[in-house]
Amino acid sequence: MVVAKRLGVLQSSGALRGPGDVRKRRRAGALQNALASLFIATAALAQQQSDYYRIETYELPKGVNFEASGLAVTAEGKLAVGLRKGEVWVEGKKGFQLFASGLREILGLAWHDGALYATQRAEVTKLRDTDGDGKADEYLTASTGWGVSGAYHEYAYGPVFDAEGNAYTSLNCSMGKAWKGAGDESTHPLWRGWVVRSTPQGKLEPWCAGFRSPCGIGQDADGEIFVTDQQGNWMPTTPLFHIRKGAYFSHADSIADAMRPESPVKIAAKQPDGITVAEAMKTVLGYTPPAVWLPYVKMGQSGTGIVCDKSGGKFGPFEKQLFLGEFVLSGVNRVFLEKVGGEFQGACFPFVDGLQCAALALTTLPDGSLVVGESNRGWNSKGNRPFGLQKIVWTKKTPLEVQKMELTKSGFRFTFTLPLDKASLSELTGQSYTYPFQSKYGGEELDAKPLKITSSTLSDDGLTLEVVIANLRTGYVHEFELPKLKAKDSTPLWHRMAYYTLNKLKE
């Protein structure tokens, strides 16, 4: 099924993948060049990518715009793919077979309790094949009740299921003129910019609010739910939010529904505009900052799907960490999380780039590989193909990477995947910055200051580096540029950048 075609993705940024791409590349023109200059550093480092992770491209059904916008794996281990234009295809002996059709804008697929669940614009639909002919014959409404006014940004993503069988769906803001409806409809809550959940009995419950375009929803190894959002109004860059009942994550469009009596989100009807995130954490009632910020351009521009590596080491040395799709960069980023003061926070690191198209949905297969569903939906992405499906496979060679980056009482502890050669350890540099909390689109890094690194000590086994910092700041991203480290076996450090979001200090 999978064409094990090693792609020569790494010679340069935006590398050609075959003769057919030449024309497209020329058309892409200025944008590609601009992006190429942004990613020069990444490309130089990425020379080593195929040593550690190879990218394989799936053979797809001919004549189908395979915009893979939802991925799931069945109990039998078959890959199921939801297409944005409303079909579900399931991998079989003869390649992908059409399983379901006629659905509306699938932006998420899950396998739960013996059935596939596809999130359409207005509902989550349970799809079952009850007569064993390989095609769905039951399309049952599993979760519905949020508002759809007709504004085109009203995307719905998910579902993910918790241990009790509740289904969670993340809902885009309307972003534009929402149609108010008539009669009952005009007073119906839209829950736009919310995560809602549906009980196994089908009761819809508003859960948490303040999202803009929450394109990724996924779970960590313990079933905790996380959401990625998109840079724009009230979102200075891609955040990774930890979902909890009643939490509020900053986008003001969801405030109106938070004023309803059934809302679990308790916030003020108005919020300040134009302060910093660090200030908002202290002053805005109910504001919950993201567990991790992914700095703009440095870590891509548009976070998407989330998957946890639960392969038990089959995907490399990052077990139980989260992997996040990146739309514009056409790659995958990595996130390490820890709990500090009862809340998740942590660090993000570049991982893999050079995919053929924008990464939208992620899942893992039983063999430990990571599948990326791709569609650029007509928007810009570094990988300039319009759609596709690829998988990332560990070559079994361990890269030298920061495996964990933990906060200590006085700084950070970096744990590496391989023991370091002490001779390669030179001066560390870094800076910290916060972001604006504002209605204006996007936002620059604010109040940047160099990190005052007072010492860095490598452990005797070469695996951990303790870094002491005199000016840790809460509400700030702490960015490090690591030296050109080498492992004892001479393996060079693969990615030198690390970004830790410090919301709480260690007691």
Binding site: T125, D131, A136, D137, E138, Y139, L140, T141
Partner: protein
């Protein structure tokens, strides 16, 4: 066909005001709905025809509209009790 579905929609939408009913004398009046219709999805038969599932006034309804010679056969099952009619015009 478009007209057929629009007529079907009108029936599903329940009774209209008296003037409207008079103007549309070909529309069979349905009993007044006292509750919400809650859509529950659909099943697809081997012939590709869907049977729509919903709850109306607390009752489970299965509703199939199948093309037949001269129009459509509509089969409605409410709590297990089936009624069938041919819609033609």
């Amino acid at each position: 066909l478009e007209r057929a579905f629009s007529r079907c929609d009108e029936q599903l939408a329940g009774p209209r005001d008296a003037a409207d009913q008079t103007a549309r004398h070909d529309v069979k009046e349905l009993p007044a709905a006292t509750g919400k219709r809650v859509f529950g999805g659909y099943k697809v038969g081997k012939d590709g025809v869907p049977t729509f599932l919903y709850r109306q006034d607390g009752l489970q309804v299965e509703d199939t509209l199948r093309p037949v010679k001269g129009g459509f056969e509509r089969i409605i099952t409410v709590n297990g009790k089936q009624t069938k009619e041919i819609l033609s015009w």
